[in-house]
Amino acid sequence: MWNAGQVRLSQGWQFIGDLRRAVPVGLRGRPEIAAAPCADGCRACAEVCPTNAIALDPVRIDLGRCVFCNECAVACPADKLVFTPEPRMGATALEGLVVHPGKAPPDPASTSAALHALFGRSLKLRQVSAGGCNACEMELNALANVNFDLQRFGIEWVASPRHADALVVTGPITRNMAEALQLAWDAMPEPRFVVSVGACAISGGLYADSPVLDRGFPERIQPALYVPGCPPHPLTFIHAILDLLGIDTGR
């Protein structure tokens, strides 16, 4: 018993009270692009991007493809790109994931009144990895740990798609997993929606050119929420889902 007490004492208070204000120190999160024009013909950032996430004239970064590797920021001769520790970058539409120069950050995921009414007090999530490398999966698992404790909002992982309101998809969706993913969705009762997590799930990411993907699922069922990252920090998911459901954190 003495030792159990020691463990309890060492554990302290790990719960993050205000998730909306938590700062992940050191995180390479949402990028910012300076407004100054680029040198004529400069393509340095786009050329080093491993996922073709960068469009030019003016420079834009598609967070649906970005793996936050920082190569573009290093390559830019004018230091126009910087990755900030800001974790809030989820969006409800693909266009919302594009970062433009000089402008305010992309709009946060917009609240759905319908989803708020249905799931604002209870949302059960079923996760399916379809080629995910276990990084997204571990960060999603972390949502239920003692730090992030997403259960406080009635948001929980469930074991069966039969019990789920939302399907959280990770990975680029391999052909070998495509059928199982569809079966999981088919097993879920209405009303239901899809959350697409990580660059792989949103765009194929680093595997977009792989010959063994089947991207039919996101074409058939449009995700209601996109959570970018490689992998997304748990706070990125938290901001996005709270924004989507219009959950007031009371602070």
């Binding site: 554990q11 995180l27 996922t51 992982w157």
Partner: protein, 489 residues
């Protein structure tokens, strides 16, 4: 100081043995005490295949044996004499269509190539009889984890055999590595097994640096070591948290889980990612650590050292934990050696194999003896991890004390030596991670072979389940904690 175990062979120095000689040469080496690290092949002209075997001698030196065979005629199996070869021969058969004569079980490893999309065609082993029943699980599991299918053949509650069906995660990573500029592939490599980003990135960088004749400074090696050992600390803590969870030991789950958060946040502080993404690049390390950050890292390490020790005492001393883990999921040393089990799983069964014995010996001051247990059960696999966490904390502290600061450096890596084969090995969280790169006459990457330790250890899990209660599968599985995508590539 050796940054990674590796060997570089100009192709001209490697005899291309005829199939029969290739097999017998490997057999001779194995009989004389060498260990099989890998066997793989690539297509060659006229329906032939070039075959490569990598072996490791008792002193740690690598040896490469190359052969050639007509794919239709193939090679005679080594599996019947050396079961460790089974997985490699199956993979060669799947990737090259090469005949492996007399192989007992050519089940696909990952349903790639012509097998893509045919996961359900496979006829599982069937056990028949009045008391027999089968349980099918997966590919989607109850938790938030990667997919794989498990078929249990049971007599009552007792598992007679577990058959594991993998391949759901196959993303054609090896094929993608042949495309584009080879020096820009590290982000892809970091996702081959996403919880072992640093180990794979290091094996990858070490192979390219060898081919490009780029020397790595001790500071870069030390920085990479910090990354690798933080990755090991974090993943070992994650496994222990999962084990505690699966035996209903809530305090262990909460505390090991919380400590993992400290470890991955330390990585994030240093490199911007909780999974070490962007830490390594060919030619260097992108982590900059000044004295202020070093002080924060030291504080984190001190907290880990103190609090891990407290929960370890509680965990290891608990009757519940001992009762649930001891004697469950045993793998005997004889079987572990025969199957070539590596890493934590091998060490828990008494195999004294840890590639770090040859790795990054900072001025020779640290000699790393493998953490070996003898009972081969879930308890032993937990114990190995617990002991290794302490070692890793010491290694990280030592690297930081010696260097004090790291600067981001990237030596230019421009061209690769032509017609050369390089094999590099790094001891990752689960065991040896091997990358092999072969270049052509123009110095382009002709073949890239990836090998995660999970490839070999999955069959160990099947073996561990035999004779155990089916209800013990979750803790057996968690005690192995293997990578699905590391197998499926």
């Amino acid at each position: 100081m050796m940054p990674a175990v590796r060997i570089a062979c100009p192709l001209g120095t490697l005899a291309l043995l005829p199939a029969r000689e290739w097999s017998s040469r490997i057999g001779d080496l194995l009989r004389s005490g060498a260990r099989l690290v890998s066997m793989f092949g690539r297509p060659d002209v006229q329906e032939h295949a070039v075959l490569t075997a990598v072996l490791q001698g008792a002193e740690g030196a690598l040896e490469v044996v190359r052969g050639t065979a007509a794919r239709a005629i193939g090679v005679h199996t080594l599996t019947r004499d050396f079961p460790a070869a089974h997985v490699f021969e199956r993979e060669m058969h799947e990737q090259l269509g090469i005949r492996i004569a007399d192989h007992p079980w050519l089940k696909p490893i990952r349903y790639e190539g012509a097998g893509v999309g045919r996961m359900t065609d496979y006829p599982y082993y069937r056990l028949e009889g009045k008391e027999v029943h089968e349980v099918a699980v997966g590919p989607i599991h109850a938790g938030v984890i990667e997919p794989g299918a498990f078929r249990f053949s049971c007599l009552g509650e007792t598992v007679h055999h577990l058959e594991i069906q993998l391949g759901y995660q196959h993303r054609a990573a090896e094929e993608l590595l042949l495309r584009g500029d080879p020096f820009t592939r590290t982000p892809l490599i970091e996702t081959v097994a996403g919880d072992s980003s640093i180990a794979h990135a290091w094996a990858h960088c070490a192979a390219l640096e060898s081919l490009a004749a780029v020397a790595i400074t001790p500071g870069v090696d030390a920085s990479r070591t910090v990354g690798l050992e933080l990755e090991r600390i974090a993943m070992h803590l994650a496994t222990l948290a999962g084990l505690a969870q699966d035996i209903g030991f809530a305090q262990g789950a909460a505390t090991y889980g919380r400590l993992r958060t400290t470890a991955i946040n330390t990585s994030m502080r240093l490199c911007g990612s909780r999974f070490g993404r962007g830490w390594l690049r060919p030619g260097g390390s992108l982590v900059a650590m000044d004295a202020a950050v070093a002080a924060v890292v030291r504080g984190d390490l001190e907290l880990l050292r103190r609090d891990v020790s407290i929960i370890n005492t509680r965990f290891l001393g608990s009757t519940t934990v001992q009762h649930r883990l001891r004697g469950v999921g045993e793998v005997a040393l004889r079987d572990a050696k025969a199957l070539g089990l590596v890493g934590v799983v091998g060490r828990a069964s008494g195999v004294p194999l840890d590639q770090r014995t040859n790795l990054w010996l900072l001025d020779g001051a640290h000699t790393h003896e493998p953490c070996v247990e003898t009972t081969g059960d879930c308890w032993a696999r937990a114990r190995v991890r617990i002991r290794e966490i302490d070692r890793s904390i010491a290694l990280v502290s030592d690297a930081i004390d010696r260097f004090g600061a790291f600067t981001a450096t990237r030596a230019p890596v421009r061209s690769l030596a032509p017609d050369t084969l390089v094999v590099s090995i790094v001891e990752g969280v689960r065991g040896e991670v091997m990358h092999a790169i072969e270049t052509d006459a123009a110095g382009r990457v002709r073949h890239y072979k990836l090998q995660d330790p999970s490839l070999r250890n999955w069959f160990g899990l099947a073996l561990a389940l035999r004779g155990n209660d089916i209800s013990d599968f979750p803790i057996c599985n968690k005690s192995f904690d293997l990578s699905y995508c590391g197998n499926d590539l």
